[in-house]
């Protein structure tokens, strides 16, 4: 199944914020987590993640820090801020509303766990 491009774009911000809400992370790990969560169905062009992360940083939703692990290369870590958590909550409300509306109109129950579980 190929997920529509607009849908991928719309879900990118809440996904990244939600992943960072579980703990700080870096670009490649975030992307791997997205693949895991969607069983590989959400296909991103890897590079596009970075402009998105930079936008979240500019908006003050995440903080960044360059760190060098004992053996290894310098790496840029991202952590969510309180503003970011507020934005994430807002995203969640919107998605739940959308999912509930779709679930109602299709009369199907398999969307509901998503809608109710996160509400």
């Amino acid at each position: 199944m190929q997920i529509d491009k607009d849908l991928v774009a719309a879900s990118a911000t809440p996904l990244v914020l939600a992943i960072l809400d579980d703990g700080e992370s870096y670009g490649y790990a975030i992307l791997k987590r997205v693949r895991e969560l969607s069983d590989g169905e959400l296909e991103w062009t890897d590079g596009m993640l970075y402009p998105l992360l930079h936008r979240l940083h500019r908006l003050g939703y995440v903080t960044t820090e360059w760190r060098t692990p004992p053996q290894g290369r310098r790496r840029k870590y991202y952590a969510i801020t309180r503003d970011g958590q507020t934005a994430l909550a807002e995203h969640q409300r919107q998605w739940v509303t959308v999912a509930r509306a779709l679930g109602d109109v299709w009369g199907r129950s398999d969307l509901l766990p998503f809608a109710l579980g996160r509400a």
Binding site: Y28, L52, H54, R58, T63, T64, D83
Partner: protein
Amino acid sequence: MLEEMESEIAEWRSFVEQDPAVDHRDVEELEDHLRAQIADLTSSGLAPDEAFIVAVRRIGKLDELSREFAHEHGGRLWRQLVASPDGEQRESASRWVETFVFAFAAAISVQIARLVAGLPGQESLWLLRNAGLLVLPFLAGYFLRRRGLSSRQVLLTAIPFVVSAVVINLYPFGEGAATELLVAAHLPVALWFVVAYPYMGGVVRSHERRMDFVRFTGEWFIYYVLIALGGGVLMALTVLILEPTGASVDRIAEWVLPSGAAGAVVVAAWLVEAKQRVVENMAPVLTMLFTPLFAVMLAAAAVVYILTGLGAAFDRELLGIFDALLVVVLGLVLYGISARDPSTRAGWADRIQLVAVVGALVLDVLVLGAMVTRIGDLGFTPNRTAALGLNVLLLGSLAGTAWLSTQFITGRGSFHRLERWQTGYLPVFAVWAAAVVIILPPLFAFT
């Protein structure tokens, strides 16, 4: 094998580095990603060279990536907003002619106005009062054409010009009226904000476009000063060479100088639009250079004026000087903020800027105190009202900047808020300048 991989990564890296929208830290981040991906792929059994190809492909096509980066980091290449390079070249020739036409029109309009002003029965300040109206419509026209705005938007741009032209020429200013001088000083500022509308392509609400306009204003100023310096040297040499021939040097200066000054307004704008690369590195450097110097000067002045109690004794002349100083500082801070890369964390430059802002804030409070006393003693005059309004606006802007800048430096707020504050405050200045032009003269009965 490993060496081969390293050289391939290095090659990829240097290729990505050429992109002006992607800076070196982004490249480092992308490289880290590439390496992590390659490591994962090889550990799942792919040969290193295959892993490299897959990893590079997954990162994405560079031109698409570049567009995304350019979109997010508009400040890095606000000049071209990723126009395709071959299209740019074809255009540049016609742009030259276009610029020349508008610059020439501005120069001619000044000369016509000069002839009209020379007619008997014209008041002496007529030319000065209308100066902005003689030049800035051509700059607005230049941007209307460049941005390809609709006829409705052209009309919207024209309205403020027409209204202000009618208003300031119908107002019956008294002989030597202070309000007339205030109009002459504030009209160009108000009209500059009108030019912002076509410059921003009609999208006035966009925070990013407003920041672009701030950058444009800063760069334009630098270019204008450069052109003025060059023009000054040319004029001086011309005078020296022509003097022995007995030619009427004054007449030449009288004709060339106003036209040159008017035409340069459009030419400077064209240079900013077309040739930013050259100066791009210069304007932020100049800001970096002068912000610390101004910070020292302002801090010292604030301390001295408080300690000596000189603040209460501000006289009229000193007040004017301080107002000019505060405006310059605000411009410097605003430009510094627009030129800063918002993705970097707070550094020493931000702290120095905060010192400058706080120093200016203290001085502004002193100036305001002196002004309120004067007004209490002597009552409102047009000049005092205009100065009071300007100082109150400056106080608001500086206080907000100081607060948000402190928040940012202490890590409790984002730089984005500081930027938003600046761009959000811009219309306040525009409205004030317009109010001084339109409301103040009738309020003081054109005295």
